[in-house]
């Protein structure tokens, strides 16, 4: 009987297993009842039967044999049967195990109390074998299904936890790629709020040489891991300046080359809009190109008060949509005052709480108003957008770069 030895030395099961065989544990002080039930079940080769005559050892035995159904006498010496039902329910390994209580007579009040304490069924002993077997099978199957479901749920919760952890690490990586704010004769600050943990927006800026500062922002279609991976790939090419034979001072060339590399068929149908500009310090000019991205807003003039808005609009469709097309660059001259806003559509494609959408023109008007007040725009805009949207969780990634170019000395 090595099996039962193993069972007895085993610690009480912490979590019931779903793959156990159909197992009946009978607790009854009368040997004759034990023998009768054993005989009733003898023909059922797939049902393992255990008999415990000593109610004091009932819990211990149950923990060892892991029954899929417990049959328990209600009237035993030294212990109240109903009390034992309560003990079984308090015991972790048998908390959910189906219990059929056996009694010598039909007493509605006792039955009701047994059910109230957690019994699942009630039989007058000795029951008919056919009925007993049917009930054992019914309760055991329900129990095992439940254990399977619980196990599946536990595994699901575990895999979700792991996944969330991986996504969180990926999000940290994405955040680490974003540049620190820039200060000097060009000041750049930004606000970035991804709508999901991993968004499709990416941006950066860096001096290509002592005269030329590249500034760019891209927005991959969709959200989540897939979009983020594409955003990061494109971003890494730009920040490492690793596009073959490309002059990074030429925005048209950069976008043309990116468009050759990132055709959507090869990118799981994903494409991106992008604004890429280069500020040339000595000539105080801004050269830019725009692939289907919302116009960057440039306020420039001799002073903040007289600055006028120039919208730096798209020269072509988003990157990846149309193979082999060239993107052209445009140039604007900057006055002594120059402030540039580069942003993703998430900052204005806001569904108002009444279901209507904020228009791009309304957005431009709002931002221009803030600019006149001399406010830093990012935080004000974010607060406004959240308030309009009616929730701090946004529907799309929110990214905005605020670039202030000081007068040449």
């Amino acid at each position: 009987m090595s099996d039962s030895n193993t069972a007895q030395h085993k610690a009480p099961a912490a979590t019931p297993r779903a793959d156990r065989p159909l197992t009946v544990l009978l607790i009854d002080d009368q040997l004759i009842v034990g023998e009768s039930v054993r005989r009733m079940l003898a023909s059922e080769t797939d049902i393992a039967f255990h008999f415990c005559q000593d109610p004091a050892k009932a819990i211990e035995t149950a923990n060892a044999v892991e029954p899929t159904v417990i049959l328990q006498d209600l009237v035993m010496p030294d212990i109240d049967g109903l009390q034992l039902v309560r003990f079984f329910r308090a015991n972790k390994a048998t908390r959910e195990t189906p219990m059929i209580v056996l009694s010598s007579k039909e007493e509605p009040v006792i039955k009701a109390r047994a059910f109230a304490l957690g019994a699942n069924d009630y039989l007058v002993k000795l029951p008919d074998p056919v009925e007993l077997i049917a009930r054992i099978r019914y309760h055991s199957r329900a129990y095992m299904n439940r254990l399977e479901r619980d196990e599946a749920y536990r595994q699901l919760a575990e895999s979700q936890r792991q996944l969330a952890e991986e996504v969180s690490l990926a999000a940290q990586y994405v955040m680490s790629l974003l540049p620190p704010t820039l200060s000097g004769d060009v000041n750049i600050d930004w606000r970035f709020v991804p709508s999901t943990q991993l968004g499709g927006d990416m941006f950066g800026y860096h001096w290509l040489d002592k005269d030329n500062l590249a500034i760019y922002l891209l927005d991959v279609s969709g959200h989540g891991v897939g979009s983020s991976l594409l955003a990061v790939s494109a971003m890494n090419l730009l920040s490492a300046q690793s596009l073959p034979s490309t002059d990074f001072r030429d925005p048209g060339e950069v976008l043309t080359r990116l468009n050759e590399i990132f055709q959507m068929e090869k990118q799981n149908d994903k494409y991106f809009t992008m604004w890429y500009g280069v500020y040339q310090r000595p000539s105080r000019t801004l050269v830019f190109s725009n692939a289907g991205h919302p116009a960057a807003l440039l306020y420039t003039g001799t002073s903040a008060a007289t600055a006028e808005l120039v919208q730096l609009e798209a020269a072509g469709p988003p990157i990846g949509m149309i193979d082999g097309i060239p993107y052209s660059a445009s140039m604007v001259e900057l006055g002594d005052f120059a402030r540039l806003l580069v942003y993703s559509d998430g900052v204005f494609e806001i569904e108002n709480t009444d279901g209507s959408m904020w228009q791009h023109s309304e957005f431009v008007e709002y931002v221009s108003g803030l600019r006149k007040e001399g406010e830093a725009i990012g935080d004000r805009l974010l607060a406004y957008v959240r308030q309009h949207h009616g929730s701090p969780m946004l529907a799309d990634d929110f990214s905005i770069l605020e670039v202030q170019i000081e007068p040449n000395s």
Binding site: D219, S221, M264, Y271, H293, A295, P317, P318, M321, D345
Partner: protein, 145 residues
């Protein structure tokens, strides 16, 4: 050649979770008109399903066919959905299928303008003008306009 709409076009692969077709397909003379059933498609799965329905459309259409994508009733289009539209556009170009769009609401039109797609896609104000444009009697280029 008669092109029957009932052929397997709108059937989504049975392995898909959502077997409900997302496109309504009608014939308007020589033109096959396709309408999106939902007013806004945002979830990634449905967008993929629409993509594969688009693919079947182009597979089934003969090279000389004319396809009209009617956006009547559609009031929002996510970036991923635009991706599927562009896939359809590319496929039609390769397969020699004439593709036009019509009845685009101002909101979506603005998105198309910002993304420069108005320069690429053939967009007509409504079904009538679109059908006329297919037949070479575009009201845009008419003598009386």
């Amino acid at each position: 050649m008669a092109w029957t709409v009932e052929r397997n076009i709108v059937q989504v692969d049975s392995t898909e979770r959502n077997p409900v077709a997302n496109l309504k397909i009608e014939e308007r003379g020589e033109v096959v008109m396709v309408t999106l059933i939902q007013s806004r498609i945002v979830d990634e799965h449905t967008i993929r399903a629409v993509g594969s329905e688009f693919e079947k459309l182009t597979l089934e259409a003969a090279a000389d066919h004319k396809l009209l994508l009617n956006f009547k009733g559609v009031d929002y289009m996510s970036s991923a959905m635009i991706g599927q539209i562009m896939r359809l556009h590319k496929k039609c170009k390769t397969d020699g299928i004439k593709l036009k769009f019509c009845s685009i609401c101002p909101q979506i039109m603005e998105v198309f303008k910002i993304t420069s797609l108005t320069k690429i896609l053939e967009i007509e104000p409504n079904e009538e003008t679109a059908l006329a444009a297919f037949n070479g009697t575009s009201t845009k280029r008419g003598w009386f306009k």
